[in-house]
Amino acid sequence: MRRVAVIGVGVTKFGKHDRTSGELFAEAAVDALADAELPPGAVQALYYGNVVGGETEHQLHTGPQAASILGIPTVPTTRFETACASSHAAFRHAVMEIAAGVSDVVLVGGGERVLNVPTAESTEYFAYASDASWEQPLGLTFPGVFALVARAHMAKYGTTEEQMAAVAVKNHKHGTMNPKAQFQKEITLETVMKSPYVADPLKLYDCCPFTDGGAAIVLASEDVARPRRRAVWVLGTAAASDSMLLGDKKDLSRVMATERAAKAAYQQAGKSPSDVNVVELHDCFTIAEIVATEGLGLFEPGAGGIAAERGDTSLGGKVPVNPSGGLKSKGHPIGATGAAQIAEIVTQLRGEAGPRQVDGARTGLTHTLGGNTATVLVSLFGRE
């Protein structure tokens, strides 16, 4: 298999936009191509993530639509849908296309638009990623899924609401250093603790926002990437799944798909958790970050909340997590999130992250979770 590198990244401002998901992706892609110093004609394929286009924009077939807006209408395109992990799944398949020798330059990205519909509507569309026979008819929501994880984690390990709140405070602080973030405002522990319950024990400030945005990355084969000083190498990329039904999951206090994907990605990269200097992971809810830091092997099971409270995952801590502000503060345009996380890790490993730079970062990790914990992707990146 051939080595693969990221040679260009682009991310729009996250927040509310008056442009479609296809337009937002294309804006990010223009920046990614400029960063890669390549013309659009160099792109041989587009792997694209978009989740609720069918619902919020009455738009299917979003792959060729995005390619057409970008101005590369004739390249092969495929739209990936693995709920919130869509563009990370797209990335993994694009890496395989280059590694297999099929293409030398592939564009990966995603776009999402949800703030054009009311919250009750977007909450319903996101719930389509849970089971339509067993779970949706009972009014399960995504905060509801992670509230069940939180309650199980609290019962098993004694994790507290204050420890979860510490994750929100930390990610909001990181977000103040990211000009692309949806929120650039510090919050206090008290703000989180006093916010209303959305799905007990999760409160409003434990939850990431609804977000419009786009992200894009340019992948290249070793021959194309080697002369480029700022290339960042893909060391490993793995996907794992778990049972769709909540009742079928073996232990609600863990995300088994994270543990399986992490093991495979570390093995591909020849790395272990202690080698990782910077992490962008899927903090759709504060408890999701705590459980992910455990599943990725950064902390022992049950120690994730304590580590967050102690500052181990803050910038300047033992292993900084979500220096971008994470989904919580940067925002979560679901189809674009995986690509945006990769863009942040590439920026960090290049040493170009400005005030939120993790000093001397050599190895980075991205983790993206889809829907009801049934999909997870983990990738590792490094400099030469």
């Binding site: 009311p118 919250t119 009750a120 509507e121 909450t123 319903e124 719930a127 026979s133 067993w134 779970e135 949706q136 008819p137 009972l138 009014g139 399960l140 929501t141 905060p143 509801g144 509230a147 069940l148 994880v149 309650r151 199980a152 019962a155 209303p196 319950y197 959305v198 799905a199 007990d200 024990p201 999760l202 049972s243 039904l245 909540l246 009742g247 079928d248 609600l252």
Partner: protein
């Protein structure tokens, strides 16, 4: 013939009458919630339909206060995962329990929730 021994349609028809139906693997004895073709535990395809008691304990729960558009009128409402005494676990709405009495380990019993043509899984004390 590859139609499973219990389909979603037949499960919810039984559930509507108050009967919870599981499937038991002839290979390893695993009790599962239908429909499944192969057993995820042992790989066998030897399911038999088994009646479930509907009795179990609450493994985790939440109170949904911000509901999807279709459920906004019901909010707030409690949902949870109940570990049945036969071994399988199942997600359902929890009714007739005051929110402050909800706790991991609480004993509950299956009760169908029927709204128009839609039957769903519910649990009550």
């Amino acid at each position: 013939m590859s139609e499973p021994v219990v389909t979603l349609k037949s499960f919810f028809e039984q559930a509507r009458e108050g009967r919870l139906t599981g499937i038991k693997c002839g290979g390893c004895g695993e009790i599962a919630i239908p429909p499944k073709q192969f057993c995820a535990n042992c790989g066998a395809r030897a399911w038999q339909s088994v009646p479930l008691s509907g009795e179990g304990t609450l493994a985790s729960y939440t109170i949904i206060r911000v509901a999807p558009a279709g459920h906004a009128a019901d909010a707030p409402y409690a949902v949870g995962v109940v570990k049945l005494k036969e071994g399988a676990a199942i997600f359902g709405r929890i009714v007739d329990v005051p929110f402050e009495k909800l706790a991991v380990g609480l004993a509950l019993r299956f009760r169908p929730i029927v709204v128009k043509e839609q039957t769903s899984v519910g649990f009550a004390p």
